[in-house]
Point group: C2
Chain length 304, copies 2
């Protein structure tokens, strides 16, 4: 079983509250943490959640509204103070570079490690990162400034060899890798055994999509589908639809509709306006359209 | 009795921990809050301590190391989102302006209120602000980049009129203000009554001085004296003196010596290195020289 989880570090919209931090998530796959957005206080939340700074090599910033990036300079500075040497990859809008450069310059900070910037493309879906088990894509959202969502998608898992087949066909260890990847087996006398007879499908590919901040966008279904867990922002309840639309944010029902349209198995809503002290009605309204919805909250960890 | 207090919002040195935020203090005088330094997460700490954003009109930034200013842009943005219209005064090193300008520009934020910058002078003591009861001064500290401390000092309190004098000399209401401010009383027939006969001294002038970050500086006694409460940084214990000196920070004993030299009544130490999980030995070492010492901790409020 592959480890694949999301930990919410901040669930607040623009203005934080005494209990809600601005946006930041840790997506962990095979115990490798990826940081998605980095609002003010992210490093404190990472500490609280015992996520080791030294394990973070990739940071994804969806857009340059302050509640999604004001914590980045602090984290980068702490990495430096803690002696980081290895490269840090930042996937973000191009202007992030000058935000960091100015603040490093005025504080007379010379980083002892390299930052490799990967600037986002806001026009189409794009592969940003891959390793042998995971791919990370950006895709365009619909907000007041250029904004991307991120899709974390497992690569196909290898097929599993049936125990019985091992005995029947006397398969040598050397052939395992090929068979798991779908090859037929050819034995010593040249008989071909069809892969279907030898294997069962591997675990299903799981996926997580992060959509914050965005107005309702019907294009999302072109970028993401059959998502195991969809995070969709939900800044407002339905009675504030006109405010949501003017600010290019989503309501409860917008988030729920997207969950239906992209075939999400589960929806997690977040980025709540500070006006909602009690989130029970926010959840209830979303569940009128998409029942398998949960509320984001600080330090909540969800296994995908 | 004048209200005069300090609330610690952050007690950590450069790298925050899961329980310690970077530097920020609220100095409150007559229920008017002044923010001193603004490390990352200050706005969240203000919320937790129920300090209303709208009451803050003056922010003092000691120097441009990130743990003292990374929270400023977030606070300024929140002020804006919450509809602030009135002027905000920022007393800080000159480069703070470009830090804010760049981040407001990339996030396409137009502030709906004015920021009036007052750039610090690092060569001499300077009056930054006064109202009819309080003066705030900056004074030079000794750190690796230009850094100021801040002195909050009450103006002389008016003298108090003796109850007995009111009866004996039949003083009209009109004359009270002058007598409280030290004038003699001249009665209807022209007799002069000496102020000393009419009044007793007003309450003592109280003061608070903030010294972070700094190496031990013998010049401090030239800038501040007879301080009711001295905050002095104490990044390290004595066995790390060489590290403290190379980074231009103070040890326990440095802080205690300054407290003695400036005639402080009480010392509060803070800006603790993240290496100190347990602060009891830090306090004990400081108290070997200056007994009336307390430890800074998040959300601690001290009445002066």
């Amino acid at each position: 079983m592959n480890e694949f989880s999301v930990t919410i570090l901040g669930s607040s919209a623009a203005v934080p509250t005494s209990t809600r931090f601005p946006s930041a998530h840790i997506v962990s796959h095979q115990y490798k943490p990826f940081l998605v957005d980095c609002g003010e206080g992210t490093q404190i939340q990472l500490r609280k959640n015992q996520i080791r700074f030294s394990k973070i090599d990739h940071i994804f910033i969806s857009h340059l509204h302050g509640d999604h990036f004001f914590g980045l300079i602090g984290l980068i500075s702490s990495f430096n103070l803690l002696g980081r040497k290895k490269v840090l990859h930042i996937y973000a809008p191009e202007d992030i570079k000058q935000v960091l450069d100015v603040q490093l310059a005025v504080s007379k900070t010379q980083l002892n490690y390299q930052i490799k910037f990967h600037f986002l493309n806001f026009d189409s879906k794009e592969l940003l990162y891959e390793n042998n088990k995971l791919e990370v894509y950006s895709f365009p959202l619909k907000h007041s400034i250029p904004t991307c969502g991120f899709l974390f998608k497992e690569k196909p898992h290898p097929r599993k060899i049936k125990k019985a087949a091992l005995k029947i066909y006397d398969i040598p260890d050397l052939a395992f890798e090929g068979i798991k990847n779908g090859l037929d087996f050819v034995n010593e006398v040249g008989d071909i055994v069809d892969n279907e007879l030898l294997t069962i499908p591997g675990a299903a590919q799981k996926s997580y999509a992060y959509c914050s901040d965005t107005a309702y966008s019907e294009s999302l279904k072109d970028y993401i589908k059959d998502i195991n867990l969809l995070y969709h922002e939900c800044s407002f309840m339905e009675n504030m639809r006109s405010t949501a639309e003017s600010k290019m944010h989503s309501t409860t029902l917008d988030a729920a509709r997207v969950a239906v349209e992209v075939g999400a198995k589960q929806l997690i809503i977040g980025h709540f306006s500070a006006r909602y002290k009690d989130l029970v009605p926010v959840l209830a309204e979303t569940q009128t359209i998409f029942e398998n919805t949960i509320l984001a909250s600080e330090d909540l960890k969800i296994n995908i």
